[in-house]
Symmetry: C2
């Protein structure tokens, strides 16, 4: 295992120290926690947005803490849910009396811990709403999940719910638009290589020299099939077909596209994937409002990508277009 | 070789098609070229900025085409200088009569081809100035270079010269500030793994299971030494020491820091590197004005990173802080 780390058991600690050192003008770390919040939190008159999950998916989620997106991110150990007490601290730190929305990726541990934290917060008189993101169409039920997994589409939930919260909407309104995004976003990924959790010291699974896996989860959960490497155009079509089957887009529908790198995929290859994605959508007369290409939700140094499509209506377009000013997402 | 590509000889073509499809609201591709320019080029009353070089370093340089940075980027084949005719087309497309600054990384092929293009442009009556970036302190002279190589520090040249050009400065003024950045920026990198040029099909060099290379170039040019993997803190100190030796910073000097991933390095590891970098600079009473962490100049799927320091004065701070709106760099 060759990694730029010090102690495999200290990677989250060291990362957060380096992140806060880099961005102390934007964010702060709550003392004795792995919680990152906006420097000015809590923001008066605004619903607070909190997300989080296991680390190793950077820039998710701390990279999205800032104006127009999240108020707080709770960083668990690598690929491990954050604990309820830390989530509770995040909720308390961002609540200005207008309530807090929790944006949770659908993993059993995350659901359980965020729900416990919500109960703790409610006992303290804080209004809490929850939205569970389950955008990954690859498989129903998975290693750590009942139902579909939550992956890169979560970033659209941060963006759109964050934009509405920034305008001063109520908790109910912010929750409703977050749920609308969840209903309209679908993703699917594939891997060229596995990744190694530092504390484990060896890859979470194996892929042969010319083998890829279609439909992999962001923690290396099994996908649909292992197959020989294929041209990017064919891989793009496989992923897109399953997304389109599920999202049931019609001619003249509008979408946002996200081509997400899993950590070790050159930007060149993500753009090559986008070539086919844009062609297929154009052929189907689906209008692409905006395309995001980059690393949004990664799996350490896994090579591979995911594609996300978000079906847009006028409200979602307006909110997607609003300003955002975070480390990893600026508009 | 497992890559998300179609034909190894078509990767630049496919990438540019996917890039323009994603960002057609911002950029256009000049017909029958690998030249990307701002959608609104040429911009009246403004000095044009053109950079470029071999592809495989994305987001360099097309990712920096936009408001406050470049007007045009010329994309060569992978790790191969763009041809003079294409550079000439870029110059013509961005010149509004106020002249064009070429920002060239110090590689023999790039220098030769950009100089030929400059001569072609001057023969057509276009004023051209050139700045050569040689920020890499690792080695004097290298595989493709006489003198020091140009690497990630180039992005600071794009940013600062671009900001001054946007304000309507003259070609002489923009050239002068670009040269000031070159005089004040130093970088050094290291690699954990090699990368594979698609058309070659195999890695450009070898590293053992626990071996790293200090001072590597962004095309895999040899560095200072191959050594066993060390803790991130020690690697950060090795790179930083050589940079600081050369840059001769004093107490209370101000710097901008860039921690640049080479393609396959998780953001987590870049932040872990930044932890030590920020500590060392703080210990020396050097003030960090801003820290940039991410992928700015990559080497395909090479794992590793580079550190860049830019010594700042009031003018450079003002220009660094100005707005920029490109795919890969927004302020």
């Amino acid at each position: 295992m060759k990694k730029l780390i010090n102690d495999p058991n200290q990677v989250v600690e060291d990362m957060l120290a380096g992140m806060v050192a880099a961005h102390s003008n934007r964010m702060k770390r709550l003392p004795n926690t792995n919680v990152i919040v906006r420097k000015e939190a809590p923001i008066q008159g605004k619903v607070g947005l909190v997300s989080g999950g296991g680390s190793g998916h950077e820039p998710s989620h701390a990279g999205y803490v800032g104006k127009g997106m999240l108020d707080g991110a709770v960083c668990g150990e690598v690929f491990t849910s954050p604990t309820p007490d830390q989530i509770f601290e995040a909720i308390q730190a961002v609540d200005s009396g207008n309530g807090v929305l929790l944006i949770i990726k659908n993993y059993t541990g995350d659901i359980m811990n965020f729900e416990m934290a919500a109960e703790m917060a409610e006992a303290e008189g804080i209004n809490v709403a929850k939205v569970v993101v389950n955008d990954d169409v690859a498989v129903e039920d998975s290693t750590y999940t009942t139902g579909r997994r939550g992956i890169a589409g979560t970033v659209f939930v941060h963006k759109i719910a964050g934009a509405l919260a920034e305008k001063g909407a109520t908790l109910k309104e912010v929750e409703a638009v977050a749920k609308k995004v969840v209903e309209n976003v679908r993703s699917m990924g594939m891997a060229l290589t596995p990744c190694t959790v530092p504390a484990a010291g060896k890859p979470g699974f194996e892929l042969g020299e010319n083998e890829i896996e279609i439909g992999m989860g962001i923690h290396g959960e099994p996908g649909i099939e292992k197959t020989q490497i294929q041209p990017a155009d064919e891989i793009a079509q496989i992923l897109l077909e399953k997304i389109l089957d599920d999202l049931k887009l019609e001619e003249n529908d509008k979408v946002a596209v996200m081509i997400n790198g899993l950590g070790a995929t050159p930007l060149m290859e993500l753009y090559i994937m986008n070539k086919k994605v844009s062609e297929v959508l154009k052929d189907k007369n689906i209008y692409i409002h905006e395309t995001f290409v980059g690393e949004f939700m990664t799996s350490l140094e896994m090579a591979g990508c995911s594609i996300s499509l978000l079906k847009l209506d006028d409200q979602l377009i307006e909110l997607l277009d609003e300003q955002a000013d975070t480390i990893a997402f600026k508009k």
